[in-house]
């Protein structure tokens, strides 16, 4: 330790979420997207405090009946099964976010891991992993997910899994995650291939750093901006996928999901459109929010494209 050492000033580093900050500062699209996403997040966290009803409370059937118009007790009315629409919307936000984040957590980890290995190793490893990824890109994922959900819900009857809460929802999240990693792996691989040839990576090798250090501290942080954009997009995609699965009637009967609301109510669209349009609108703004956020992040990650 020398005296020079003591003179290190704690200089302010750039903001930790540099990409995120830049997205919000420079991109109107990003700000709108972030606003929509934050709205859904706040609804998911605090929404249930605003309603006196439980999510599966059908007691309105005895008071105002099904497909009731808005009233002081039911601000958006009730739906075909006598649920309070507002309550369903609020709880649905939770499901949507859990599905989006959960599925992308799985696909993101798998995608970054597999794509990273393929891109860094190259050669045969790359060939094999990418052919494997292509398999996941070409299979018709909805049919597989529907089949798996149906088969599993039959198969677990009578086992310990039957009592597991939200079993179907967990399966759906897992399946969306498992089928969503391939695009992320492709992107990660591309970025790794590009970055590993840059001179600072060679410099790190000349400095004696191990492969693991190079991947974690040199390549990955520089690949991250592009990956984050894709992840934001995939969150929206996963939410949409869950809504579609639920709309087809394969959702979790215990969960409250916007897709399921559509499934329950689309037949009475003419009688009481609110019951279908409200969850449709929520799906719309949530997916739109994540897509706009991804656009904004992409603008922030590629400053050259920003100056169009």
């Amino acid at each position: 330790m020398t005296s020079m050492n003591d003179s290190i000033d704690p200089v302010a580093r750039p903001a930790r979420f540099g990409l995120f900050g830049r997205c919000l500062r420079t991109s109107m699209t990003g700000r709108v997207g972030f606003g929509l996403v934050m709205f859904v997040v706040i609804v998911a966290i605090f929404g249930p405090l605003l309603t006196p009803y439980a999510p599966k409370d059908q007691s309105a059937m005895y008071a105002v009946g099904a497909n009731a118009r808005p009233s002081a007790d039911h601000w958006l009315g009730t739906d075909r099964l006598g649920y309070d629409i507002l309550t369903q919307l609020l709880y649905g936000a939770r499901t949507a976010l859990v599905v989006g984040l959960g599925a992308v957590l799985i696909s993101g980890c798998a995608g970054i891991l597999i794509g990273g290995i393929a891109g860094y190793r190259g050669g045969w490893t790359d060939e094999v992993l990418m052919r494997f990824a292509e398999f996941f890109l070409v299979v018709p994922i909805f049919i597989i997910i529907l089949a798996v959900v149906r088969v599993l819900s039959k198969a677990v009857t009578g086992t310990a899994f039957e009592t597991m809460p939200y079993f179907n929802l967990t399966v759906i999240i897992l399946m969306i995650g498992l089928f969503g990693w391939a695009p992320i792996a492709r992107m990660t691989r591309g970025e790794f291939l590009r970055i590993k040839t840059l001179e600072f990576v060679q410099a790190a090798r000349c400095g004696g750093q191990s492969g693991r250090q190079i991947v974690l501290s040199e390549i990955l942080p520089n690949a991250f901006p592009s990956i984050v954009v894709l992840i934001a997009l995939e969150i929206g995609g996963a939410i949409l996928a869950e809504a579609m699965i639920s709309f087809l009637g394969f959702g979790d009967p215990n969960a409250v999901s916007w897709g399921q609301m559509l499934y329950f109510n689309y037949q009475s669209l003419k009688i009481w459109p609110m019951a279908s349009l409200a969850p449709g609108f929520m799906i719309f703004i949530t997916v739109l929010g994540f897509n706009l956020l991804a656009d904004g992040l992409s603008d922030a990650a590629n400053p050259r494209a920003r100056r169009r």
Partner: protein, 557 residues
């Protein structure tokens, strides 16, 4: 302002001779840039049948000016004042259709990168004929005949066959010839050339310069030639304009500007031009050998899969040399000569296919990475691209200390060393906590040198370490290398394509061609009396021999 006033007085000419006049041109930059104008108050007259060179360093606005003439400015750059007068018309106010008619027919342009300027999906013949078709000239037959004539004129081999080729099959020089043929298709009065030889090897550059000069004389065209290289200027120019930060600082005949520059900036620039030196550098003599290479060989294999035939390229073939402590070995050659592969082999960034690399008394050539690790510290590298060689997400401190810390140095000692070496390369210690983007190209290259020094190595391999820098910065970094070497007695392997630079810094030079060393020896011998044919061609192709040999490298008055 002062300079432009002088220019107007010294250049009194009849207006008949002026084919293109730029009058008081101002082009603004969008807010938030380092200055508010790309070019300011530029007044230039291009005369009939002259080659006017526009020279300046990066960011001087020289390309903005030439693009303004063509109406090719990007939308955020707006000409806010001035006129560009051609044929009695102001090009800045002409409607787009009128400009389109002029482009290609009256004023043509060739670009720096001939590959991206050519359409990869169209044959050479179609592209040349396309220029004529766009202007509704001739019929399909006459256009083809004219294209054939042009391809002959620019000296492309097998003209008939050449018309059917796609750009990717051609070499860089051939592509640039195609670009020139396209530019000449409609016999323009003005040719604007924006750094047309910068991406080319020195021997190819010499050929293209000769072609441009030749065609200019034959056709009596006016050429506006934008470049950053005083060597090129001295080869080709009749008159020179010097630009700095958007201002025109000096103009005059090529002899006047090169030998008696008036503006201090021009004087600095001319003084910084690397000059061929014939004297032997008084490097250290009789010091121990730190790096010895014997019969080193590298073969690149590609394809060789199940469907394609394997392609083999011998990148480094039987290369041997010795480097002594405190001395500098130059490795020169054109692109594809294998000089960069040699550098990577020495660093063991790629594996070799034979030969020995003796470092510290041990042959490291065949060592696996784990066994080589302890030797890594003794050989370090300085990279070419100052913008790619530093991780943009790490502070300078982290960049410098990462290596030693990996080798078990305590962070405190490494930090102290980093500050010491930052000081040695001429940066303040406050650089430690900053990020690479806060530094200029030259400063980043200093950081790269400090990073190499962190290990106190015996050998530094510098791979084109100054070729991405402006000429005045090049001179500073070269001096830094010399100072660092004097202080640390490090052995330098200096890889460069620029023979003038090699002649200045090296004690000994290897000339590489297609992977082989064709000649080696002290620079005086190599450059003044080359023994090998290839070396002779290389030396002859160096642009601006007359300015670079005439002086001893000291700044001129």
């Amino acid at each position: 302002m002062n300079a432009s006033a002088q220019i107007e007085r010294s250049d009194v000419i009849s207006t008949d001779d002026v084919i293109l006049a730029i009058e008081g041109l101002n082009v603004s930059l969008p807010a938030g840039m380092d200055r508010d104008h790309a070019v300011r108050d530029i007044s230039v007259e291009l005369r009939r049948g002259e080659i006017l060179c526009v020279i300046g360093e990066s960011g001087s606005g020289k390309s903005v000016m030439s693009n303004a003439v063509m109406g090719l400015l990007p939308p955020q750059l707006k000409p806010v004042a001035g006129r560009i007068v051609f044929d009695g018309r102001d090009l800045l106010t002409e409607p787009p259709e009128a400009l389109r008619d002029l482009r290609g027919r009256a004023i043509s342009m060739i670009f720096q990168d001939p590959l991206s300027a050519l359409n990869p999906l169209m044959t050479v013949g179609d592209q040349i004929a396309g220029v004529m078709r766009a202007h509704g000239v001739g019929t399909a037959q006459t256009r083809r005949a004219r294209a054939l004539e042009l391809v002959r004129e620019v000296g492309l081999p097998d003209p008939e066959l050449m018309l059917l080729q796609y750009p990717f099959r051609l070499s860089g020089g051939q592509r640039q010839r195609v670009m020139i043929a396209m530019a000449l298709a409609l016999e323009p009065q003005i040719l604007i050339a924006d750094e047309p030889t910068t991406a080319l090897d020195v021997t190819t550059q010499a050929q293209i310069l000769e072609l441009i000069r030749d065609i200019q004389r034959r056709k009596g065209m006016s050429v506006m030639f934008v470049t950053h290289d005083f060597g090129v200027v001295s080869e080709i120019a009749d008159r020179v304009l010097v630009m700095e930060k958007g201002h025109l600082v000096e103009a005059g005949t090529v002899q006047k500007v090169l030998t008696r520059p008036e503006h201090p900036y021009t004087q600095r620039l001319v003084a910084a031009v690397p000059r061929m030196r014939g004297d032997t550098r008084e490097g250290m003599q009789g010091t121990p050998v730190v790096l010895k290479v014997e019969n080193l060989r590298k073969v690149y294999r590609s394809g060789g899969g199940f469907l394609s035939k394997e392609r083999r390229v011998v990148a480094v073939d039987d290369v041997s040399f010795e480097l002594r402590k405190g001395r500098t070995l130059g490795v020169v050659g054109e692109s594809g000569s294998g000089k960069s592969s040699l550098g990577k082999l020495l660093m063991k960034l790629i594996d070799c296919d034979g030969g020995r690399i003796i470092l510290n008394g041990a042959d490291v050539a065949a060592m696996p990475e784990a066994a080589f690790r302890p030797y890594r510290k003794t050989i370090q590298m300085v990279f070419q691209d100052p913008f790619a060689s530093l991780n943009p997400r790490h502070t300078i401190g982290r960049i410098l200390t990462a290596g030693p810390v990996t080798y078990g140095e305590t962070p405190g000692v490494a930090r102290a060393a980093a500050r010491r070496y930052l000081d040695m390369v001429g940066l303040s210690a406050s650089a430690f906590d900053r990020y690479p983007h806060e530094f200029s190209g030259g400063q980043r290259q200093r950081i790269g040198i400090a990073r190499a020094l962190m290990f106190d190595p015996q050998v530094i391999v510098a791979d084109e370490a100054i070729s991405a820098l402006d000429v005045s910065i090049q001179a500073q970094i070269l001096k830094l290398f010399a100072d660092v070497q004097a202080e640390t007695k490090v052995g330098l392997v200096f890889i460069t394509h620029d023979l003038r630079v090699a002649s200045q810094i090296c004690d000994e030079v290897l000339v590489m061609h297609k992977g082989r060393v064709v000649e080696s020896g002290p620079p005086a011998q190599i450059f003044l009396s080359p023994g090998d044919d290839y070396t002779r061609r290389l030396v002859a192709a160096i642009p601006g021999a007359e300015i670079t040999l005439s002086h001893d490298g000291s700044p001129q008055p």
